[in-house]
Amino acid sequence: MYFNSQGKDSVTYDAIIVGSGISGGWAAKELTEKGLKVLVLERGRDVKHGDYPTATLETWDVPNRGQLTEEEWKDYPKQRRTGYTVTQFTRHWWVKDTEHPYYETQPFDWIRGYHVGGRSLLWGRQSYRLSDIDFSANATDGIAVDWPIRYRDIKPWYDYVEEYIGVSGQNVGHPQTPDGVFQPAMELTCVEDHMRQKMAQIYDDRLLMVGRVAHITKQGGHNGRGNCQFRNRCIRGCPYGAYFSSNASTIPAAAATGNLTLRPFSTVHSIIYDDQTQKATGVQVIDTETLENLEFYAKIIFVCASAIPTASILMNSKSDRFPDGIGNDSGELGHNLMDHHFQIGARAQTDLFDDKYYKGRRPNGIYIPRFRNIDKASQHKDFIRGYGYQGGGMRAGWWRPAEAKIGKALKEELSQPGTWGMNLTAFGECLPYHDNKMTLRYDKLDKWGLPAVDFDVGWKENELNMRKDMQTQAAEMLEAAGFKDVSVYENNSNPGKGIHEMGTARMGRDPKTSVLNKWNAIHAVPNVYVTDGACMTSAANQNPSLTYMALTARAADHAVRELKKMNI
């Protein structure tokens, strides 16, 4: 059935990593640096660091001022839904929906790109640790299953990852948002600092700080990556390597060991399971260009394809032992799908600081950490868990409404900065519901013969109740801080739009109710690790990538120790 043109030795590695994004890149770096021969399989094309064709172009250098034409949009009806991701500067980073269709029993925005580096090239770079409030949340509330780890288990790995990737931020001694190892923080604007001071006066339980963001602000180390130049064109790829990506950081580090083989255009069909050894022995791969079927073998497999493709691969890995997908003894594979719900909050204006401005384009904003349901005093009667705010205080630019209608007066008005505005957008935790799931449609195969994904995910009562408070508190804080023209907004974001898909192969203590153990390995197949968003037992409200990286480094360390002990 499956033939390789070379002998088995040439397709055998110590470890295979599926995916080259933020988790796969970390797995590659850690495993190669520990001496393993590693094959990284990436379904998309190769992107070398620096291969960012639009990085230095201006608006007038691209067609249509950066917008796609209606004809061009026809390939991106779903990727378009965010309103900000797909432009003439970035369209090469996103999948064409016409080539990669999916189905929506309920609406789901699945926003993604297939290339080496994956969404590590495109991420928002906000980096916050989870705390024990998060790791114990399911146990405290008696829902879903308990995380099998606590903060002390992951803390050294957060330290390790933050130091390596470079996170600009500030330690504030806030228990919900644990301190870390930070590069120098970026400055607040005058208005943001004003809001910070007001909040410190008014609230005992709330604070405002500048965002923690994976950018180098103090040069030195980091594999020669450069300092942030404050262009805020990160999504095009950074020629300085100033923000963390697999391409600028972990993949070059892995390659430098001489132990890395990177194979682009390689989509994984399934994981091969051996009944005799009760372990995985390798993966079946389809070369997306030649459509050849290939097999590769290894002692360890890291599945880091991101939450939805990872679950798809596991679900499609059927055997006599695992008729419903490898590792799916619990029936939880593909379930408990989570994202963060957002696009709700408030904005306001102020007449203060009319003679002040800023220089540069900060690729970052402000952060107000969670303050709800931390303790008895902060319990909310209508929902459990909480939310944090991101946003910022900036002056309006030429795109604002002008008072002058026409002529010289209009030109002069818009050549000056407008009023200072302050915006707070909440990012809320979504609970893990068994009902929120993805399934595979074997009646809808793609051009590689793989089943399409169908999403059936919806916000429920807890999220909807939380949203009311997310909006109200944003407005109240702006009013309390003395801002004027406070207005609220609610854009009813679909699940998926947060681009934080999580939970489809959750970690847990009990093989009957979870897919992965406390080391991110499949309970019943201990040489298969899953360290991307699929592993998340709860979503917390923080941007999750930092946690994926820390869990990946921790799992790689465990895998190599187990290998040395001949346990896997």
């Binding site: 309103g83 604007t189 600092d193 262009r231 401005y357 795109w399």
Partner: protein
């Protein structure tokens, strides 16, 4: 609805106080763009008229205006690429009326009065608001608008969060 939200969040279409509803109305349906023929989409006479219109909305002062920045030509392409057939027909009809009224021969002051007093037709976006929004969008995102009228800094190299406006003097591009 999704499309409308997408457009509302695009800074490129939010120029000069176009209301969200107007923006949505301008580009509310899909169109099939013809292949680029190397000639104008709206016709040379219409593009020349647009040159007079955009220069009225953003005139040359001590810095160049919208005509020198080529905004009329950009607008021609934008109508081609982002308007539905129905919308571009409406746009052409509006331009015909403006030409018939002898716009190009008017004084600058008269041109301003003429454009700002264009009335909305029932159920349709106000033609002046559309022209004004597109002119602002095109101009301030053009090389001339960004580098000569606004403060332009392609590689800032640093971030300072709170400085005197006088240090910059203009809005950032």
């Amino acid at each position: 609805m999704k499309r409308r939200q997408a457009i509302q969040t695009s800074v490129f279409l939010a120029g000069c106080g176009l209301s969200a509803g107007t923006i949505a109305a301008i580009v509310s349906s899909c169109s099939t763009a013809p292949a680029d023929s190397g000639t104008t989409f709206l016709g040379d006479d219409n593009v020349a008229l647009l040159g007079d219109i955009v220069e009225t909305i953003i005139p040359a002062t001590d810095t160049p205006g919208a005509r020198e920045a080529g905004i009329h030509e950009w607008m021609d392409q934008s109508v081609r690429d982002n308007f539905s057939q129905e919308e571009s027909e409406m746009f052409k009809t509006a331009l015909s009326q403006i030409r018939k009224d002898g716009f190009s021969k008017m004084s600058q002051e008269r041109k301003e009065d003429y454009l700002t007093s264009i009335e909305s037709e029932e159920g349709q976006p106000n033609v002046f608001e559309v022209l004004r929004g597109m002119t602002c969008q095109g101009f301030f995102s053009s090389e001339i608008g960004a580098t000569q009228v606004l403060a332009f800094d392609p590689i800032p190299g640093e971030w300072r969060g709170c400085i005197d406006l006088a240090e910059v003097g203009k809005a950032w591009a």
